[in-house]
Amino acid sequence: MLLPKFDYHEPATLGEACQVMGDLGQKTKALAGGTDLIVNMKKKILSPACLVYLGRIKEMKKIDSSNGLFKIGAGLTAAEVAEMEEIKNNYSALSRGASCLGSPLIRNLATIAGNLVSARPAADFPPPLMAYGARVVLKSSSGERVVSLDDFFKGPGQTLIAPEEILTEIVLDKLRPFSGAGYIKLGTRQTLEISLVNVAAFVSLDGPDGVIKTARIVLGAVGPVPLRAPSGEKALIGEKPSEALLAKAGEAAAFDSKPIDDYRGSAEYRRAMVDVLTRRALNEAINAARSNLN
């Protein structure tokens, strides 16, 4: 399989990268891990006139926790995210998502930036990141903007990133005590699987035995973009966790989902699984929250 011809740039700094992306315009694509882009180019789905490789930019591979925030360089690979101690300990659902992506070989290449910008409805990074309330930093030569991940996805393969922008960083809030999240992916096999349904849930409790103050439920692969489940979330607020409560939230989340029939599974099955996985993800989130004393 031959790749179409293209020009190639390899900036060493973010400033340089923004400059190149700005100068080259529309027919340029940023190349991160390449596990999506190179495949699409081989299949002739995409044929950018120019690639700008971001993998040499050190600034995009850093993490930083200061000022009550936790910032993750978007150039980190899924394997790096999955193995990072700070992420394992504090953002376990994100670590879980990273370790479900593709295969071990793919995880050594694929980056967070690539996974977000390629915007596949079943992708593994969006649900846990949205559950933690992530924002993304989009940089260009004319400045930068910070966008909530909730607003970032526009449709399959579509986001609101402009052609000259680079997704450089993910911004999370430091977790408050008694908050935590869970992530569950359902597929028919464990590796190189596109999720049938994937669900992430986040809760924040007002004490180890307290009521739920904040809740976020994010559903993947059951709509054109990863979806929040507003009625599922609403059912939880101000309530004490119980099996009955999680069942109610699961049912409500299933109602919020917009699954379709395809060769991987029927809409009906997916809806039923949203119910089950939401309960389980919430259960994980509540356990994580109770043990997070920070």
Binding site: M1, L2, L3, P4, K5, F6, D7, Y8, E10, L31, G33, G34, T35, I38, V39, K42, K43, L51, Y53, G55, A79, G102, S103, P104, L105, I106, N108, L109, Q190, T191, L192
Partner: protein
């Protein structure tokens, strides 16, 4: 336009002129003649093109040769030592983990990278480590046994 890149492959340095749209697997196979690295699916699904790049196993069909500039690569040709087969390769032979052999280079490299990180993996860890490498012959069981066998030999 061709670009000049430097690669260190199996402890040898190369300077090569490559087109931006050439993949690493193609340069290894067709320019350097290292045909031990296989091409199966060419889209990241099968793992037959596995090489170790900067210490990590990757699908070389998804890496542009220009992206590999300055990096250290190990292919299956670099696994065997002067003294003969690597213990992992011996275990593959002993346990009957090779049939047609198409997946074997990738399997051996994924396994070698696992044992470097984790000399005593359990079965689940072995299966995860080779989960990006497809084998259409052995049913995997003998491959898992071979990796386990090598781990036992080397940590004894």
């Amino acid at each position: 336009m061709k670009r000049l890149i430097k690669l260190r492959v199996n402890d040898k340095d190369y300077e090569l002129a490559v087109e931006p749209n050439q993949t690493l697997v193609d340069v290894l196979r067709y320019t350097l003649g290292l045909t031990g690295t296989k091409k199966g699916c060419e889209v990241g699904d099968c793992g037959s093109c596995t090489v170790i790049m900067d210490g990590k196993p990757v699908n070389s069909c998804l890496v542009l040769a220009v992206q590999a500039n300055g990096r250290v690569i190990r292919t299956i040709e670099g696994v065997e030592a002067d003294t003969g087969l690597h213990p992992l390769q011996v275990s593959f032979v002993d346990k009957g983990a090779v049939q047609c052999g198409f997946c074997t280079p990738g399997m051996v490299l994924s396994a070698q990278s696992l044992l470097e990180r984790n000399p005593k993996p359990n079965e689940a860890e072995i299966r995860t480590a080779i989960s990006g490498n497809l084998c259409r012959c052995t049913g995997y069981q003998k491959i898992v046994e071979a990796i386990h066998d090598c781990s036992e030999k080397m940590t004894r």
